[in-house]
């Protein structure tokens, strides 16, 4: 049974998590379907950006606790989940999270994995794993501290308390807050704006941004320059600069 609703708007794919009965909890099946959807999109030249959302009350309220409870140490050691998360992380095109309601635990980690996040006024972000005698296991302790800093990240991870959309905005976890009913519309508009740009430039820029988390500054600057140079060989770069100079909209072909 599909736990995702896929809707295409021009060059943007909207992925809606659809397990309302489980508050959109990210069980293995959902993560698997998400990975498959993103992999298909990665190879689809007609789509340049993706938006992930839930419903107005829940983005995703965590992992599936029943599924997790069944796993002892050996089973957890050989868990499929890290591979699923790695497949999500490998998606090369811009990925936008549109968060209404609760993004907790794995839901919050999914937001952190996205390139951009916007939220409805009612959004809540939290990593409550600690309250269950566990801890974040899909990037929560790593990605959060890099975007909001030590003080807030430590408080969230160690206390398990969630923060509001307003606090998330101030901390740099999300870029915008919108009324709940407009959040997905605006995320799609944002993704649509992105998708007007040259697809290869978007991918190279995303890759460069990702590397900023991985390597020291000097190495990052070198890699950035290499990606920059790579774009010099593309037809779309010629088109982009020509269109700017001729004051007309650019028409990109993805090569």
């Amino acid at each position: 049974m599909s736990q995702l609703i896929l809707t295409q708007y021009d060059k943007v794919l909207l992925i809606t998590l659809d397990r309302p009965e489980a508050r959109n909890a990210l069980d293995n099946a959902t993560l698997q379907q998400l990975a498959e959807a993103l992999e298909a999109t990665a190879n689809d030249a007609a789509i340049t950006a993706c938006v992930i959302t839930g419903n107005t009350r829940f983005f995703a309220a965590g992992a599936d606790l029943r599924e997790m409870a069944e796993k002892d140490l050996p089973a957890t050691f050989n868990d499929l989940r890290p591979q699923l998360w790695a497949r999500l992380n490998a998606f090369p095109k811009p990925l936008v999270a549109a968060v209404n309601g609760y993004a907790l635990g794995a839901g919050c980690e999914l937001v952190l994995l996205c390139d951009l996040a916007v939220a409805g006024e009612n959004a809540q972000f939290g990593l409550p794993e600690i309250k269950l005698g566990i801890m974040p296991g899909a990037g929560g302790t790593q990605r959060l501290i890099r975007s909001v800093g030590k003080a807030l990240a430590s408080r969230m991870v160690l206390s398990g308390e969630s923060i509001t959309a307003q606090a998330a905005l101030q901390a740099g976890l999300i870029s915008d807050i919108y009324p709940v009913e407009l959040c997905v519309d605006y995320a799609l508009a944002l993704a649509k704006n992105l998708s007007c740009h040259a697809p290869l430039a978007l991918q190279a820029a995303k890759q460069s941004l990702r590397q900023a988390q991985e390597v020291p500054l000097q190495a990052g600057l070198i890699q950035e320059r290499q990606l920059f140079t790579l774009l010099a060989a593309t037809a779309d770069r010629e088109e982009g600069i020509a269109a700017f100079l001729e004051k007309r909209p650019a028409s990109y072909r993805g090569c």
């Binding site: 919108y178 009913e181 407009l182």
Partner: protein, 262 residues
């Protein structure tokens, strides 16, 4: 035991009456709980399109019932913040967040939290005999339940400071003259006027009224730029409402609109 909160629903108007008249309807923990339970019903019921809060007997609400607070001169200091956090603040937040108009029908004296709560409602209508007493400073306390936030906004800084620091009694007439409340009504016409106002609001475009209310609240802290963006967003939402369509088609057809609140 007598109900501390009376509720009465009529044609989309929910009236909650603070009902401890022998203690000027002052708040106790159990009364807070009863009020919170009623608010939950209001929040869940789409058919309620206006909320009226009023008091039984001669007073509106005398704030916190001091008998309910254990003040033993020899004992450790009480944690007043605890009751503020547990009862008053959630109440103020919930009334502000309600997507329907909230009328404070101030039938008599409103003191302490009773006064600040009333002044925080969307529309305050007072009977001639009503008064507002910022009693906090006389006990060494500060106006809570949003008092220090709402007073400068409805009365201006100078009057807010005077009211809060001196702890004096403000008549309903004076409050009206200062623009702190919407209307003063003669005692004998009070109940009818409140009823008429509430019934009017309950058949208006409730969704749009809710947006107006939220926008006015947001304006208290937003910059002009932020507020302009919020107005754009809310207008987008309002434009999608059934009541907007109804309003426009009724206007074109020169008939009176039948709003559903959606």
């Amino acid at each position: 035991m007598m109900e501390t909160i009376l509720s009465h629903s009529n044609n989309g108007v929910m009236t909650l009456t603070l009902n401890r008249p022998e203690r000027l309807n002052s708040f106790t923990a159990s009364m807070h709980q009863a009020l919170a339970d009623q608010l939950t019903l209001v929040e869940r019921d789409d058919s309620i399109r206006c909320l009226v809060i009023t008091g039984a007997g001669r007073g509106f609400c005398a704030g916190q019932d001091l008998n309910d607070r254990n003040v033993d001169p020899q004992g450790p200091a009480p944690d007043l913040g605890e009751s503020v956090e547990r009862f008053y603040n959630p109440l103020v937040r919930r009334l502000a967040a309600l997507r329907i108009p909230v009328i404070a029908a101030v039938n008599g004296v409103a003191a302490g939290a009773g006064a600040t709560l009333a002044l925080g409602c969307d529309i305050v209508i007072a009977s001639r005999q009503a008064s507002f007493v910022m009693a906090f400073s006389r006990l060494g306390l500060l106006p809570d339940s949003g008092g220090t936030w709402v007073l400068p906004r409805v009365a201006g800084r100078a009057r807010a400071a005077g009211l809060a620091l001196l702890g004096g009694k403000l008549s309903a007439e004076q409050a009206e003259q200062w623009g702190m409340i919407w209307q003063v009504v003669e005692d004998n016409a009070f109940a009818a006027t409140v009823e008429q106002l509430a019934q009017h609001l309950a058949c208006q475009p409730t969704y749009g009224l809710g947006l107006i209310k939220q926008a006015l609240r947001a304006a208290e802290t937003n910059s002009l730029d932020q507020q302009l963006e919020l107005e754009r967003d809310y207008q987008r939402l309002a434009g999608r409402s059934a009541d907007y369509r109804e309003g426009v088609s009724a206007f074109i057809a020169k008939r009176s609109p039948q709003f559903t609140g959606k």
